[in-house]
Structure formats: structure tokens, C-alpha cells
């Protein structure tokens, strides 16, 4: 890099003033970067590395909190047990059902509702506030409000509506436990989809729409050829982010069904939790945890790619 030795010009026979301290000299870019970013990087790296490596370690030993000390290496035995466990198939299928249904409901309704709200009408601002509210409700509140006030087979609002139409009220959590959970989670995440899609719709090119209308495009054509392609990217973002978080749905199940009846509302996350903190089988739970991590990584891989692209795009 630079030399600090000076070529003494003809007039500068006197000693040059000492280089100023760090405050007086040009800030070295690389030093700044390291100093300001490294605490965050360090902290996150520790957060990643330490627990994950412990999980990996635990998953290949036998470790039950009720029998500490009995920690021999068992290879892939834990994985085997986990996968062949009665709850695993249920857990996997429930997870997929849960994630898939919520995605479907939130994306389809999200697109429709955001389109509906995209036009100006009286009270639009309030409507938007009403629509996004469920997202900010605590998951535990969400779960209990639905379980008790709405879905309760005797005194719930749904029961009243059923009775109003002369039908027998449904005991949702007994007859359709997983569907109840799906309803609760969809209600919470629908605003997320609406919010993102509403924002994306606002960047829809008005001039393009006007040109198309002049060319004779009707509302359906406008939707399919202009709006939907424009929304493709935000929908992808919604799907990917929801997938990552829906894989870990926990609180709603914890507060309402506790995974039951049987395994009917147990998803992967709850299964692992019950193994760890209810059955105290750390080894088994760790194996399950790793499987969950792998699944999430797959979804994360695509999401990170998409975000990375938006990072480099000039808006």
C-alpha cells in the first residue's frame, strides 16, 4: 500500500508533523467494517453454531434427561426411532397439511382481498387497518379467542350462527381438530399476505394498465396478463416466508389441543417439543430437530435466492 516515508521536497526540510491519531487520519475502510459489523456477525455465528452443533451431537447419542449419564454413541438410531415412531408420520403429514392449507387459503384470499381493496372507496384506510389487525394479535390470544369465544360448541359465535340456520353446531376441536388449527392460523396469516400484496399492487404500472385498456383489454384480461404476472414475485415471497414460519407453528397447538386428540394436531414442531420437554428424550428430539432444520433449509434456500436477487436489483 502506501509508503509512509516522505520524499522531502526542496522546501520541506523541517520534520513533518506526526500523523494524527485515529481521529485525525482517514478512516481505514476495512477497519471500520470489521469493527462495526463483527459484533453482530460474531453473536449470530455463535447463536448458529453452538446450539446446532449441540443438536447434532445429541442426535447421535443416547440422552434422556431422566437417565443422565447414559450417553453412549448410537449413530443413526435416534433418527431411525424418530422416523418410525408412531407420531412421526402423523407429524409429517399434519405439518404438510397445515402448511399447505394455510398457504392456499392465505394466498388465494390474499390476492382477492388485496385486489378488492386496491381501488379507492369511502373509508379505505379504516378497512385496511381492520384487515391487517389479526397479524398483530398474540398467537396464544388468537388460539384461545377462537377456541372459546368462537368455536365453542355451546356458547361460541359459530354455534349461534349454526343454530340460527337450524343446523346442529359443530364441536370443532373434537370433530375437525386439524381444520380448527388451520382456521386459526390462516386467520392470523391472511393479513400478512394482504399487507404484502397490497403494497405490491401499489407499484403496479398505471400507464401500462391504461395502455392495455385502450387496446381493448377487459378486466379479466387485465388481471391475467398484467396484474397476476406483476404479483408473481410478491406471491412467491409470501409463500416462502409463510412456509418457513408455518413449519414451526407451535403456540396455537400448545394452547388449544396439546397435539391431540392422539396425534391429530401434532405437527413436527410439537412432536419434537413433546419428546424433549414432555418425554425428556433429548437424543430423539435432537434427531427430529435436525430433520426440521433440513426441511426449513430447503425453503430458506429458495427464499434467500429470491431476496438476494432483489438486493442487487435497482428499484
Amino acid at each position: 500500500m502506501k509508503t509512509t516515508a516522505l520524499n522531502a521536497g526542496p522546501a520541506s526540510s523541517a520534520a513533518e508533523p506526526k500523523q494524527d491519531s485515529r481521529q485525525g487520519s482517514i478512516r481505514k475502510t476495512s477497519r471500520i467494517n470489521r469493527f462495526m459489523v463483527s459484533p453482530s456477525v460474531l453473536v449470530l455465528a455463535l447463536w448458529m453454531v453452538i446450539p446446532l452443533s449441540m443438536t447434532i451431537y445429541f442426535s447421535v447419542i443416547r440422552y434422556n434427561l431422566l437417565y443422565p449419564g447414559d450417553n453412549e454413541f448410537v449413530g443413526l438410531e435416534n433418527f431411525q426411532f424418530f422416523v418410525t415412531d408412531f407420531g412421526f408420520m402423523a407429524g409429517m403429514s399434519n405439518t404438510l397439511l397445515l402448511v399447505g392449507s394455510v398457504l392456499l387459503i392465505t394466498v388465494v384470499l390474499g390476492v382477492l382481498i388485496s385486489l378488492l381493496v386496491n381501488q379507492a372507496f369511502w373509508g379505505r384506510g379504516i378497512v385496511r387497518i381492520l384487515l391487517i389487525s389479526p397479524f398483530f394479535i398474540m398467537p396464544t390470544v388468537n388460539a384461545l379467542i377462537w377456541k372459546n369465544l368462537l368455536l365453542h360448541p355451546v356458547s361460541g359465535v359459530f354455534a349461534a350462527i349454526w343454530k340460527f340456520f337450524g343446523a346442529t353446531p359443530i364441536d370443532w376441536f373434537s370433530e375437525f381438530p386439524l381444520f380448527s388449527i388451520i382456521m386459526i392460523v390462516s386467520w392470523q396469516w391472511l393479513p400478512f399476505a394482504i399487507l404484502l400484496l397490497m403494497t405490491a399492487l401499489q407499484s403496479l404500472d398505471q400507464e401500462q394498465q391504461e395502455a392495455a385498456r385502450l387496446d381493448g383489454a377487459g378486466p379479466w384480461a387485465l388481471f391475467f396478463h398484467l396484474t397476476l404476472p406483476h404479483l408473481a414475485r410478491p406471491i412467491a415471497v409470501v409463500v416462502m416466508i409463510e412456509t418457513i414460519f408455518l413449519l414451526s407453528i407451535f403456540a396455537e397447538i400448545f394452547t388449544t389441543t396439546g397435539g391431540g386428540p392422539g396425534y391429530e394436531t401434532t405437527n413436527l414442531a410439537y412432536l419434537i417439543y413433546s419428546q424433549a420437554l414432555l418425554q425428556f428424550d433429548v437424543g430423539l428430539a435432537s434427531a427430529g430437530g435436525l430433520i426440521a432444520v433440513v426441511l426449513a433449509n430447503i425453503a430458506a434456500f429458495f427464499l434467500v435466492r429470491l431476496i438476494g436477487k432483489s438486493l442487487t436489483e435497482k428499484q
Binding site: 502506501k2 516522505l6 521536497g9 520541506s12 513533518e16 508533523p17 494524527d20 485525525g24 482517514i26 481505514k28
Partner: protein, 367 residues
């Protein structure tokens, strides 16, 4: 006193070398303009002087004091940014007093300095406004005011006029020239506009691809460009270039055969040339006349003529398929496709060798 010396300054961004060894002397009170095409390194050079970029090699000295590694604020320089870079959340007054506050000057001193700068730039009625309430020209004056208040040794301007509309640009150019006289300060000014360079500068530094092509007064560079690049860069419309071959030479003149076969004889010192050397003849629009085809051996036909009222610029295609720009008086009229003759003022023509370097003229050496 504010003499700036730059020695062998080099700057690379990663693998790319932007400044390839700049040597320059800037004297006290000079108005120096760095001019050149996009990417030539002029802004990088300015920012290196300012201390906003770390240099990779070389030295910068201000009044013999080495400032190469000093923080920008310690260099006693002030900069006016192209986008003005005003602090949007501060009033005009606070924008101008910010630096003095950071330096912990006394309140009265700050107040007086700000008032003085505001007076010079006619900013008094705007002092309590925020930047977003100001027009482009007003913002620019605040940016200049911010620099004046610090009473720096050197003012640095980074393309300050490029964000203004045409009329405002002309007006601000005059104000900047006046400012230079009033403040009696050293100013370094970066622009890609050669009109600004010609009109404002005491000294012009033409840069190209990280190197200095030529340094001199505007008229000096205009009349005696050192190479094709400088010749083609300064002057509006651009100088026309005619490639040719040397057919004859003696001690004080060179005869060149142009593509069309026509020959011209120019006064030139011919030491480095020989028979058959490839050369280029450069001629400015004001040094060609359109004449009857019979009156000249260089003929062609008229392409487009742009009449500006005061002058008419004729774009001409010669029989040798060369293009020339000719300046004619405003009342000159000609039709598209007309056959015309061209007469060159050979004394004012320039000759460039095959490397693009100018061939000296014997008459110049005498002057």
C-alpha cells in the same frame, strides 16, 4: 498561502487503476479546472484531494504539509458537492454553521461568519428555511456558503452546475467567476463541460483514463493542444480530423496527401516525420471556409447546415468520405447536397503524428 502539490498520485479500486500517477502543481489563488470525459478520474482525483478516498500511492502536499493521510476535516479544504449534499433536517443557517459548531467555535464568531457568507451569496432571507423549501440554484448557493464559512485554503467543486437548468447554469457560472475574484481563494473545479473549463479556468487540467493529457491556460490548450485527445475535447463544435500521409517535407513545412487525394501543405517542424508517415490533420470549424467547388482542390457536398442566427455550422462530406464541420456567418445559406469547395487556413491547422501527438509549428516556437 495555498499551494497544492500532487506527486505521483495513484488510486486503485481493487484491481482497477483509476489514477495512474498524477503530478500537478496548483498555485495560490488559481482557479484550476479538471476536465475530461466520464470515467477519466477527475472526480476521483478531487475526492482524493478532499480526503474522501484513500490513495493507493503518491503524495498530496498543501503548503508543503503532507496531507495524504489526513482526515478530510483536518486538511483545511471545503467541498461543494454535485448534489449539494445539504443536511435536510437542518435550516440553512444550521447547514452553514454545522462545521463551525463541530470545531467548537464561539457563538458570536459563528454568527458573524454565517452572516458574512449569507451576505456574499444573498442568502439572508433564506436563513431559517429548510433545504426542501429552496430551489436548485438557492440550494447550490447554500452549499457554497457552507464552504465559504470555513474559510478553507482551497475550495473544491464537484460538477456543481450539472444539476441546474441551462439558463441558471450560465448565471451561476458568472457568479462563480465573481466569487473567485471576491474571495481571492484557490479553487479546484471538476466538470465534464468544456465550456465551463474554458470560461472559468486560470489553468485547465485535461484528464483521460487516469492520466493528465495536458495542463495549461484555456487559450493555450485551445491553440496548442498537445495531442489529438485534447484537440478534440476542447472547442465546440469539435475539431475535424482528416487522416493522411506525408508526401513531402522540408525544414519548416509538411505536405500531406488526404484520403481524397488532395494535398495540403502545413507549416510544421518535421524532425520526427518521414516520407509516407501516417498523420492526421486537425482543423477547427472557424478555420475552414466554404467556397465554390472550382476555387479549391478539396471538394465535397453539403450535408446538414445548422443555423444558429449568429453562426451557421455546416456539416460537410468531402469526396474522400471525410466529415468536416465548418463555421460560416449566420446569413450563409446552402442546400442539402450542394457541391462545395473547402479552403483550409493552413496556418491555423494542427498536425498529429500516428501516435496522436501534436507536431510542433515553427512559428509557435518563435512566439
Amino acid at each position: 498561502m495555498a499551494n497544492l502539490t500532487i506527486k505521483n498520485l495513484k488510486k486503485s479500486f481493487g484491481e482497477t487503476e483509476i489514477l495512474k500517477g498524477i503530478n500537478l502543481e496548483i498555485k495560490d489563488n488559481e482557479f484550476v479546472v479538471f476536465v475530461g470525459p466520464s470515467g477519466c478520474g477527475k472526480s476521483t482525483l478531487l475526492r482524493s484531494i478532499a480526503g474522501l478516498e484513500e490513495v493507493t500511492g503518491g503524495h498530496i502536499l498543501l503548503d508543503t504539509k503532507e496531507i495524504t493521510d489526513l482526515a478530510p476535516a483536518k486538511r483545511d479544504l471545503a467541498m461543494v458537492f454535485q448534489s449539494y449534499a445539504l443536511y435536510p433536517h437542518m435550516s440553512v443557517r444550521k447547514n452553514m454553521s454545522f462545521a463551525l459548531e463541530l470545531a467548537k467555535e464561539k457563538k458570536e464568531v459563528i454568527h458573524n461568519k454565517v452572516a458574512e457568507a449569507a451576505r456574499i451569496l444573498e442568502l439572508d432571507p433564506l436563513l431559517e428555511r429548510k433545504p426542501k423549501e429552496l430551489s436548485g440554484g438557492q440550494r447550490q448557493r447554500v452549499a457554497i456558503g457552507r464552504a465559504i464559512v470555513r474559510q478553507p485554503k482551497v475550495f473544491l467543486f464537484d460538477e456543481p452546475l450539472s444539476n441546474l437548468d441551462a439558463a441558471l447554469r450560465v448565471q451561476m457560472r458568472l457568479e462563480l467567476a465573481r466569487l473567485h475574484h471576491d474571495l481571492n481563494a484557490t479553487m479546484i473545479y471538476v466538470t465534464h463541460d468544456q465550456v465551463e473549463a474554458m470560461t472559468l479556468a486560470d489553468k485547465v487540467v485535461v484528464l483521460n483514463q487516469g492520466r493528465i493529457e495536458q495542463v495549461g491556460t484555456p487559450l493555450d490548450l485551445y491553440r496548442n493542444p498537445a495531442n489529438r485527445f485534447v484537440a478534440g475535447f476542447l472547442g465546440m463544435p469539435k475539431m475535424s480530423f482528416l487522416p493522411g500521409k506525408v508526401t513531402a517535407l522540408d525544414a519548416s513545412s509538411v505536405t500531406v496527401e488526404l484520403t481524397s487525394g488532395t494535398t495540403v501543405t502545413l507549416p510544421a517542424a518535421s524532425e520526427h516525420l518521414s516520407q509516407g508517415s501516417a498523420v492526421t490533420v486537425g482543423v477547427r470549424p472557424e478555420n475552414i471556409d466554404v467556397v465554390e467547388p472550382s476555387e479549391s482542390s478539396l471538394t465535397g457536398h453539403m450535408d446538414i447546415a445548422e443555423s444558429l442566427g449568429s453562426d451557421t455550422y455546416c456539416y460537410v462530406k468531402t469526396d474522400g468520405q471525410e466529415t468536416l464541420t465548418v463555421r460560416m456567418p449566420g446569413n450563409f445559406a446552402c442546400n442539402y447536397g450542394d457541391r462545395i469547395g473547402l479552403r483550409l487556413h493552413v496556418d491555423e491547422c494542427h498536425l498529429f503524428d500516428e501516435l496522436g501527438n501534436a507536431v510542433q509549428k515553427p512559428s509557435r516556437l518563435a512566439a
